[in-house]
Amino acid sequence: MSTELPESYGPPPEGQPSPPSRRTFIATTTAVGGAVVAGGGLAAGAFPFTAEEADAVEAAPSGRVSLTVNGERHTAEIDNRTSLLDLLREQFGLPGTKKGCNAGACGACTVLVDGRRVNSCLTLAVRLDGAEVTSIEGLADGDELHPLQRAFVEQDAFQCGFCTPGQIMSGVGCIEEGHTGSHEEIREWMSGNICRCGCYVKIVRAVEQTARGK
């Protein structure tokens, strides 16, 4: 994608790490799941390709996966690079789950896999054969909102609404795990979900209200 740093820059100052080589760069982005453009599909953690290997890829390897999403069984041939997040959004027509960072740092993509909350951006879809996935679209019972969805509306626990699906799925997980003993505990266990509008006080209230009502 790019050249190495030109030599005219000279060596980095003492004590600074050297610029990463392409190999270490890719390994790093794979490990932290960062750099969408640089790492490309690799960001989802597929294979630590070297540049040469990556260049050699003709067609994307794929796998056949059967999984249940919001109670509905899907069988699909999936590009191995596809994250659960992109599978839901781009192939299953479920754009309610959001891509905030694609690196597991913001929680906007949180869904439940087999009842546990996960960052769907860091979860490779091909690994989910037989899994049961619940996304925000599958939480309400028809027109009847889940108690936490209702609590979010009542408490006004959101503004722009973009992080909200992830917050709610994470909140469902948090309540299920029993991490709701105090405001401090809820704050701690809801800290994987960033809300840039700053609705944390009300998110805590909504989670608490729902946990108490259980």
């Binding site: 905030g100 960072c101 960033i194 700053g198």
Partner: protein
């Protein structure tokens, strides 16, 4: 003022779009299902300045699914006509893929379009770009500044010379990025020479005009749709290069294209609050009455555009003093262009001024509130105008009472709780009340439901809800019978969704349109021989729950449905408008606030934790109290980030932003935020606009950072004159 009873306005109602947002059905820029859409991923420059010497696209084009790679090598020449909008900063914007020049690290150098997102991402990683790199200049400390903007009154030098108390401080503020949760994204589709884009924007007209002039087509040929915006904080106030790239990619591939920036790309693909250096000299008498203040301000901008914001205003009007002198310089660097970020200019200035006031209070042994009261002006000394409303004294009084300010031990480093040093601090906030021309269409159908539309935006404050509340009351309908729509350039025009003026501008247009429509219906009734209201004085008729009746005789009346059905009318229509008063202002219009906070600082580790915070605001009439409360708490959270966490770090060796992600650019998370409280003083401001509001979005962040900085000083006795206040600085 409307004679209508107030039912929805002022009531703590939930968001009308709440259900859509909690069920995942609110559609953001790349959530719309567009048949045949393909995906685009931008390739970013890996040098900070220089020239592209080659672009090898063979590997990318060989990759399965890749349709096209566009760069300056094969992109068509785009007209790039001048953008006529007054919001465009002076200079010349970046022209994408038009030449081989690189102006900043991360500049778009190519775009890869592919049938799947995976292929586009992988394809982008296979584009090999070679450069002739030069050393970029990205450090404001080492670069020359341009000509200053100036303001002066009195003779500051002389006043400082004779002042009994003189102080001189320099405050540094780090670059901040908006980092809204929704990454900027655009879906673009051409139908012949008509372009439709679904864009993340705070101004559909801004995107429409920019695309029209870039592609040389008529504005009417461009439709921009943006029903939901996943946060903005200012970054959506201009159409960034990726919007053009999405439209270009769609035109070149003849396919609808979805283009979402990655989180990393937001740091160089969209704006930021610039790095500032703000130097203050002040003089006062021994009782703390200010006599003079100088403000020397430097801020970064790009090499190709000059970004300016209202950083000088607070220094001219917040406190009374005869002598003021200000110089504001921008420093052109090899970076991209900044943009307004929540409380633009004012948060920066208030940090410097309110820190300086705290330093003066400490030097004189005065209570910080008492010092501010001694310098409270009687009029706006920058203009000589009377204040429309300025209730800062009340903000201090209510805040001090509710916060328990009188329990404070005034001495720095005087309170401990185990390992933690405890401090309290306060600061004033101010933000100007601006408003702009807006229109809103109103339609009442024969079934008794109403549709109100304006091409406004709702990035989170609740434009949908608050305007529904206004319309419901003005039309005399229950909330459930009124639908407010926004975010489409086909709708009546609205100003940019920023500067805290949406409620004042769009709300006043909605009020006007609904008043007109209601009066139309009343006129129809009183002139209709078959109406029970026939012959009644129209001024005595009100509408409640969809029924028109004589105000003091509710039995005499009829419903909208009955009236329209009998008159064979399918609907009634009206166009509401608000026009910003022309000519000189007769009042000085500002919203005010006072922020109080308590922090704990670990005596050995230097960790700062905010323990509680209270904001008290003089912001005029509050249309939607539940949402206004959320907005205030959100502003405090933004301020906590600015004060303690947020810092975009550039490696000056190559101009690369090194923490362009949410793991290294820290924003407040849930565990960083204690219980927060906001109080809005009851009242309204009819000099500001017909509905009496003064704007909320900005004022709620102004003053938060200095209140925290002042509390850190009170806790530790250490004055940190830079933001963010880090553990390292306190060790």
């Amino acid at each position: 003022m409307s004679p209508q009873p107030q039912a929805a306005v002022g009531a703590p109602l939930s968001r009308v779009d709440g259900r859509l947002k909690v069920t995942g059905k609110a559609r953001y820029a790349v959530d719309h299902e567009i048949a045949g859409a393909v995906h685009a991923v931008i390739v970013d420059s890996s040098i900070g300045r220089g020239r592209i010497t080659g672009i090898d696209t063979r590997a990318a084009l060989d990759h399965a699914g890749v349709l096209k790679v566009i760069s300056h090598v094969n992109a068509p020449k785009l007209p790039y006509q001048r953008n006529p909008l007054p919001t465009a900063p002076p200079g010349e914007r970046l022209h994408v893929f038009q030449d081989d020049k690189v102006h900043f690290h991360g500049q778009p150098v190519a775009v890869v379009v592919a049938t799947t997102l995976e292929a586009a991402q992988h394809g982008a990683s296979l584009v090999k770009v070679t450069y002739d790199a030069q050393q970029p200049s990205t450090d404001m400390a080492d670069a020359p500044a341009g000509e200053p903007q100036k303001y002066a009154r009195g003779d500051t030098d002389k006043a400082l010379e004779v002042a009994a108390v003189r102080m001189e401080m320099t405050y540094d503020l780090a670059r901040n990025n908006h980092n809204a949760m929704e990454p900027h994204a655009t879906t673009a589709r051409w139908d012949g020479d008509k372009l439709t884009v679904w864009d993340k924007t705070q101004w559909v007209f801004g995107t429409q005009i920019e695309l029209a002039v870039v592609f040389g087509v008529a504005p009417e040929s461009v439709r921009v749709i943006s029903p939901f915006v996943g946060g903005g904080f200012g970054s959506g106030l201009r159409a960034w290069p990726h919007v053009t790239i999405a439209a270009l990619a769609a035109r070149e591939t003849k396919r609808p294209v979805k283009l979402a920036l990655s989180r990393k790309q937001l740091y160089f693909g969209t704006g930021f609050r610039p790095t500032y250096e703000y130097a203050v000299r002040l003089g006062s008498d021994r009782r703390g009455r200010l006599t003079a203040m100088t403000h020397d301000v430097r801020a970064e901008t790009s090499s190709y555009e000059t970004f300016l914001e209202s950083v000088l205003i607070p220094g001219q009007m917040l406190y009374s003093m005869p002598h003021v002198s200000q110089e504001y310089r921008t420093v052109p660097l090899d970076v991209h262009t900044p943009l307004f970020m929540r409380g633009p200019g004012y948060t920066t200035a208030s940090y410097a001024i309110e820190s300086a006031m705290d330093e003066l209070a400490d030097k004189l042994g005065l209570d910080p509130i008492e010092l501010r009261l001694r310098n409270e002006p009687e009029e706006d000394e920058s203009s000589g105008l009377p204040f429309s409303t300025r209730r800062l004294r009340e903000c201090y009084a209510v805040g001090a009472r509710e916060f328990g300010w009188h329990r404070r031990n005034p001495g720095p480093r005087s309170t401990r709780d185990g390992d933690w040093l405890i401090g309290t601090g306060m600061a004033a906030g101010v933000y100007d009340t601006a408003r702009n021309d807006a229109q809103a269409s109103v339609r009442l159908d024969a079934d008794g439901t109403a549709l109100v539309q304006s091409a406004a935006s709702d990035m989170g404050p609740g434009t949908y809800t608050s305007n529904t509340q206004l319309a419901a009351d003005a039309l005399g309908l229950p909330m459930g019978k009124v639908t407010f729509r926004l975010g489409d350039s086909l709708m009546p025009p609205a100003p940019p969704h920023g500067g805290s003026w949406t409620m004042a501008s769009v709300g006043s247009a909605v009020q006007d349109g609904c008043d007109k429509l209601r009066k139309q219906a009343v006129k129809l009734a009183v002139e209709d021989a078959k109406s029970p209201l026939h012959g009644v004085n129209p001024d005595t008729v009100v509408v409640r729950a969809g029924r028109l009746h004589v105000k003091h005789n509710p039995a005499r009346g009829e419903t909208y449905q009955q009236l329209l059905a009998r008159n064979n009318r399918t609907h009634l229509e009206a166009m509401g408008s608000f026009t910003r008063p022309t000519g000189p202002e007769r009042h000085s219009l500002f919203a005010y606030g006072a922020v109080f906070t308590e922090v704990a600082v670990d005596a050995r580790l230097g960790l700062v934790r905010v323990r509680r915070m209270l904001g008290v605001y003089d912001a005029g009439r509050i249309i939607s109290p539940k949402l206004a409360d959320s907005q205030a708490l959100g502003g405090m959270v933004g301020g906590i980030g600015q004060a303690l966490l947020e810092h975009t770090v550039t490696d000056h060796r190559d101009g690369r932003i090194v923490n362009a992600n949410l793991a290294d650019y820290l924003v407040p998370v849930n565990a960083d935020v204690p219980d927060l409280r906001a109080i809005y003083l009851d009242g309204d401001d009819r000099d500001a606009d017909p509905i009496g509001v003064k704007g909320l979005g900005e004022i709620v962040q102004v003053g938060v950072a200095p209140a925290i900085a002042n509390a850190v000083f009170h806790a530790t006795g250490r004055r940190i004159r830079e933001l963010p206040i880090t553990t390292e600085a306190l060790l």
